[in-house]
């Protein structure tokens, strides 16, 4: 009896028990999801998904009528073959430049195969993923820049930068991101004739900047004021002290909240779908409406977001470990 009690109270036994519990919960969750979908009588068609990520583009360009090649117009990686038929009409065939075999003056037969190729092309989901990545990276970079300046302005003793920073932060944090995106698209974008990509990217940057500013302000304030005094007493000016003494230390501390903010930003980028940017979520919706395979599409979309956010987490963890050497 005593031995049994010893066993059940041992930390190792409890640890094992906890692992078993974890496994059971996860298994229960997967099984539950599986049973639920069976109930709604849904036909899973996962095989439809891969083509929206990568697909093989098979093309055969066939000559339509007897003609003579009159011009080869190279445009980037593609070349337009201009062919004039006997009645004087012109036809244009667009083929990859490296597959051009004809030259000016060549006679073309009807039915002759001008070029034939198979290429991997990015599907709508992958294009959406790339756009999401691009707009997120641009917004993160601009967000850090805006946040850094606003954070420093917020800490300034002089009223103009301080109150401008407070006004900006309160304005952005007090209005919905979706509304901000509309304003940037319809109002700011209209005035400065921005593309929808830049309207979206700027809206996200300005949004992120307000939150980053508060994170940076808190980070700088968390550094003991003796650090600034020591730096200044060595003759460093404000800029040098910030650049070499305060910000490196603050950056190390704010890395975790900053990472959280940027993970949020990647997810919030799904809102720019409303201004005709086919980012990941919008791509998913478009595929959904044409195939009705909403389940598979949005599970895939979620997984792709997870890849982005998880990679960011990994990068941040790597940075944290690198900064930890001085602890």
């Amino acid at each position: 009896m005593e031995t049994l009690k010893n066993l059940t109270h041992s930390p190792r036994f409890r640890n094992t028990l906890s692992w078993i519990a974890l496994f059971l919960i996860l298994a229960g969750f997967v099984f539950g999801t599986f049973r639920t979908t069976q109930k709604v009588d849904y036909i899973w068609r996962w095989e439809k998904i891969p083509r929206y990520i990568l697909f093989k583009d098979r093309s055969v360009i066939e000559v339509r009528d007897y003609a003579t090649v009159t011009a080869l117009d190279q445009r980037g990686s593609e070349t337009i073959v201009v062919a004039r038929n006997r009645s004087g009409g012109e036809r244009y065939y667009t083929i990859p430049s490296d597959l051009v075999t004809v030259s000016i003056g060549d006679e073309l037969r009807s039915g002759q195969i001008l070029a034939k190729w198979e290429r991997w092309k990015t599907g709508l989901l992958l294009q959406g993923l790339i756009l999401t990545l691009k707009i997120s990276l641009v917004s993160i970079a601009l967000g850090i820049l805006i946040g850094l300046f606003t954070g420093l302005a917020r800490l300034s003793k002089s009223p103009a930068p301080k109150w401008l920073a407070i006004g900006y932060i309160e304005l952005i944090r007090g209005t919905p991101l979706l509304v901000q995106i509309y304003i940037f698209y319809f109002f700011v974008g209209q005035i400065f004739s921005l593309s929808s990509f830049w309207a979206g990217a700027l809206a996200l940057s300005v949004f992120a900047g307000a939150y980053v500013a508060e994170i940076i302000r808190a980070g700088i304030q968390s550094i003991h004021k003796g650090q600034m005094e020591a730096a200044r007493s060595l003759g460093m000016n404000y800029y040098l002290a910030m650049r070499y003494i305060i910000l490196p230390q603050a950056f190390k501390r704010i890395l975790p909240p900053l990472a959280g903010q940027f993970i949020s930003l990647i997810k919030d980028s799904s809102l720019v779908g409303v201004i005709a940017l086919v980012e990941l979520t919008r791509a998913g919706r478009e595929i959904g409406t044409s195939t009705f395979n909403y389940f598979e599409v949005f599970f895939t979309v979620a997984a792709l977001y997870l890849i982005l956010t998880f990679s960011l987490s990994m990068v941040v963890q790597f940075l944290e470990r690198r900064f930890a050497v001085s602890d």
């Binding site: 020591a230 200044r232 060595l234 003759g235 003494i245 490196p248 190390k252 001085s326």
Partner: protein, 243 residues
């Protein structure tokens, strides 16, 4: 070297605190002055005013003839000539010891890296910890950290060194090693202004002792005069408490 004329400083935190009231003093070249006094007597504030970490309300402070209180003075240039050592060391924790000592040399004095490192290594030799060049401050004892802080200030080749209770945060067995460095500096002819309660230091190397109370300089004289024959009652009371 240092001239303080009729300086006033008042803090308005929760209530009004008169930290410095009509303070005047002079420190000559190569002179070593110790400021003593009860806590809250304004001695640290006076020291911090000497390199403009605190701005004075009224009065004038001249460092090597340059008025700190003049708005046209490039305060950073003056500070580069005035080294300061803090009670809580204030080393830069994200840099190695070598980095701590070279950063201001390279960024403020614009010395080349090799030269800065050479100076840093010589100073580490001088303060007795040449083997710690690549360590981070968190890996050092308090006494070692304070010696690095002194080396960091000396790397700028200052004309004046200010010490703000440099041994107060140290374990007793580490006080000696820091005081030894300070004594060496004093013997080498450095102008020193120190807030400290180390009477041994004050007696052996100081030229004069200043006693402050409630923001005023109450008594000033040689260590023998102030410690052995204090004139003022408050000085007597204070000395009776700490000795």
């Amino acid at each position: 070297m240092i001239k303080v004329r009729n300086v006033y400083k008042t803090f308005y935190a929760k209530n009004k605190v008169e930290a410095l009231v009509d303070v005047s003093m002079e420190v000559g070249r190569g002179e070593v002055v110790t400021i003593i006094g009860p806590s809250g007597s304004g001695k640290s504030t006076l020291l911090r005013c000497l390199n403009h970490l605190e701005a004075v309300d009224r009065g004038e402070i001249l460092i090597d003839g340059i008025p700190l209180t003049d708005a046209r003075t490039n305060i950073n240039a003056v500070r580069a000539e005035v080294g300061m050592v803090f009670q809580s060391f204030n080393l830069f924790p994200h840099m190695t010891v070598l980095g701590n000592i070279t950063i201001a040399q390279t960024k403020v004095r614009r010395r080349p890296r090799e030269e800065s490192e050479k100076i840093a290594r010589n100073l580490l030799e001088k303060v007795g910890i040449p083997e710690k060049a690549q360590s981070y401050p968190s890996q050092l004892s308090g006494g070692q950290q304070q010696r690095v802080a002194i080396a960091r200030a000396l790397a700028m080749q200052p004309k004046i060194m200010l010490f703000d209770e440099p041994t107060s945060a140290l374990d007793p067995e580490m006080i000696g090693e820091v005081l030894d460095v300070m004594k060496t500096l004093a013997r080498e002819g450095m102008t020193i202004c120190a807030v400290t309660h180390e009477m041994g230091f004050a007696r052996t190397v100081c030229d004069s002792v200043v006693f402050m109370d409630e923001g005023r300089i109450v008594e000033r004289g040689t260590p023998e005069e102030v410690f052995d024959n204090p004139v003022n009652d408050r000085t007597k009371l204070f000395l009776a408490q700490i000795l």
